[in-house]
Symmetry: C2
Subunit: 229 residues, 2 copies
């Protein structure tokens, strides 16, 4: 499918890209709160109503930025996790990638992991993009499991409902992962983002600030919890 595009369509895509670029710039500078279509229009040489030819509303523009942000962090994590290395090293690299991207792009982090901005919409497009990070983490654990190297500590029995959810999550990775491991990855996943969010939003200021040491330690404890070698 060569996707024939005329000159007009090409210009249109450029315009969309330029609007998003400028919006991303303003986002990085002062957050989603103060991102205004009018300012974007001014900066891109459009009249204020012109932006609406490309994005039906401010929320739609923000949604586009959200999807891009999910993609950006996922890309970093997938790259970090893809290295040929021991499972625990890959796990550490994935977690470190999350933190590094978040610290480098705090406003984009806030956009996707902070409070949902409008009444929150979460269109289906964002779901797939959002799933890539946890899937990358799961893939590390799955590889360790397939190599027969997964050694979870004393296992707690799962209630049936949680076991079912764990099984469903495990199947997202292609199957083969024990339910319990999937559940523990879920817990480590929430721990990771809870910690990164707390760091970014200043909740660690009186206690674990700077958070470098806490982060590394937590990542290792979670790897222990999962049973990564």
């Amino acid at each position: 499918m060569g996707e024939r595009v005329g000159a007009r369509e090409r210009i249109r895509r450029q315009m969309v890209a330029e609007i998003k670029r400028e919006a991303r710039r303003q986002l990085a500078e002062s957050g989603a709160q103060s991102l205004s279509l009018r300012a974007v229009a001014r900066e891109t040489g459009l009249v204020s109503s012109g932006v609406y030819r490309y994005f039906a509303s401010r929320d739609e523009l923000l949604t586009a930025l959200i999807i891009d942000a999910y993609g950006a962090v996922a890309e970093r994590v997938e790259e970090a996790v893809g290295a040929r290395a021991a499972p625990r090293e890959r796990w550490r690299a994935g977690c470190a990638a999350v933190r590094a991207w978040s610290r480098a792009n705090p406003h984009e982090y806030a956009l996707i992991y902070g409070s949902p901005v409008p009444g929150y919409a979460a269109p289906a497009d964002t779901v797939d993009a959002a799933a890539r990070v946890p899937l990358a983490l799961l893939s590390v654990v799955r590889a360790a499991h397939e190599a027969g190297e997964l050694r979870p500590p004393d296992v707690r029995a799962l209630p049936p409902e949680l076991a079912a959810q764990g099984r469903a999550v495990a199947e997202l990775t292609g199957g083969g992962l024990p339910e319990d491991a999937a559940v523990r990855v879920g817990i480590a996943w929430t721990q990771l983002f809870g910690m990164v969010g707390f760091e970014l939003f200043g909740h660690l200021v009186g206690s674990f600030d700077p958070a470098d040491a806490l982060f590394d330690h937590a990542v290792d404890l979670m790897a222990d919890l999962i049973g990564l070698p």
Copy 2:
């Protein structure tokens, strides 16, 4: 210090309370985004500029709501944790109180644990209020430790920096708590809020939704991690 207050001061405090009440109502209804001073003014029978006699800016009003929200969740957690019960039961109750309050007041949760709203200020007033929840959790672990019942699993050595931070945190509870335990509480704390935040903001929709089972399991795993009996 009897705090003599004249009639005028009394009326003023009533006015402040009424403004906050209406603001809280709007917050609960549609989030911090769409909380407007003008709407609050309309609803309280004031002219729009009148609110500024009581709050210098929208941010100042939001800050007042933030402090109140921290206080509200802390109250619930302290009450839950204060029960005369086994350490693990107290731990569970504290965590459950966090989740229950958060689900009952999602917009207030977003206000204090979501993306910082303005450029974020975090005035000193909020810090003390924010510390009460982690302190309540720490107190449970400290009680278990003092009863000689804390049995942490295989301990990982702490790097010096993290040990120092853990010691400082432990001292906030009055001392006596091992550094390692304080650090683990910190990790469990971030896990707890990461999980609750993910649940509220829809990040668990495709996987661990509903989150009840995951929550209970995670709370117990974190209690294990800390070594609570």
